[in-house]
């Protein structure tokens, strides 16, 4: 079964994803603000943006930049996540997504970076939900 990536779902982070560049090589930007609720507990006195929420930024970026003919998309699998460096309050994430398709299966390879460093790579497997909103 797949996870529906509709725009209408529960979001664990307040950070909004802005699309800078749509297309097969898309770019989005996410500002990680210091008032993000998760920082209170991750960790007390030492805020680090959780790695899984970097994946959440990629899911949201995928929702927004998936080719229009396959929207809305559903998540089949997170093929891989590599967390390379920390993300801190105030960082601005740049997410570069490369979309590919092979038959019914869409794949999306994302590279995430801040001004300081490359912070993560994420590969997703998705499919079209088929339904038009």
């Amino acid at each position: 079964m797949a996870v529906q990536l509709s725009q209408n779902r529960i979001r664990p982070a307040r950070a909004e994803v802005k699309v800078l560049d749509p297309g097969e090589r898309a770019v989005t930007q996410v500002e990680i603000r210091a008032d993000e609720p998760v920082f209170a507990g991750h960790y007390p006195d030492f805020p680090i943006f959780p790695g899984v929420l970097l994946v959440e930024c990629v899911l949201r970026s995928a929702e927004l930049t998936a080719p229009p003919q396959v929207q809305p998309v559903q998540l089949i699998a997170i093929d891989s996540v590599r967390l390379l460096d920390v993300v801190l309050p105030g960082d601005v994430l740049t997410v570069e997504l490369k979309w590919e398709h092979s038959g019914e299966v869409l794949s999306c390879a994302a590279k995430l970076s801040t001004a300081r460093a490359k912070v993560a790579t994420v590969r997703l497997k998705l499919a079209s939900s088929g339904a038009r909103p």
């Binding site: 507990g41 007390p44 899984v52 959440e56 998540l75 093929d79 996540v81």
Partner: protein, 156 residues
């Protein structure tokens, strides 16, 4: 068994991102079974528009499972204080969605333990319904001094 107080001694995570409630089975260094109760009272359920899909975010299900893995390591590593940081994951698939009112059971197994890195695998279910499968997750141990400088200051 490790109760909520025991988990708080082992993990630095706190509200709203302490996502493991109880450990029900534990074989040191090998595997554990842990529970996470999902409630609509978590902060991401605030200010939700009518018609919103209320399924628990899959990335938080992953975080919850990863914290269970961290508890498995922390419970047998009492000499050093520090945190397990998630380094990588692969082959994460989702089955039935999880909703408020569900109690998620995480099963975490050590696949291989290296000097400061542990490779895990496992799955999450809601009663008998599959929710998530994790083919591989790699967690790396970082000593407290590198993570919480304010803590080391308090100790000196």
């Amino acid at each position: 068994m490790i109760d909520a107080a025991g988990i708080r001694r082992l993990l630095p995570h706190r509200y709203p991102i302490l996502l493991v409630d109880r450990v029900t089975q534990l074989v040191a260094g090998q595997r554990l079974t842990a529970l996470k109760a999902v409630t609509g009272n978590e902060p991401w359920y605030a200010e939700v528009a009518p018609g919103t899909d209320l399924a628990y975010p899959p990335t938080l299900l992953i975080e919850s499972w990863v914290q269970a893995a961290a508890v498995l390591v922390a419970s047998s590593n009492t000499e050093q204080s520090g945190v397990m940081l998630l380094g990588s994951m692969s082959g994460v698939t989702f089955s039935d969605p999880v909703f408020p009112g569900d109690v998620v059971t995480h099963r975490v197994r050590v696949f291989r333990a290296l000097s400061d890195t542990v490779i895990f695998e496992g799955d999450s279910t809601v009663y008998d319904r599959p929710a998530m499968t994790v083919q591989q997750a790699v967690l790396a141990f970082r000593p407290a001094a590198q993570i919480r400088p304010s803590t080391t200051e308090e100790l000196t």
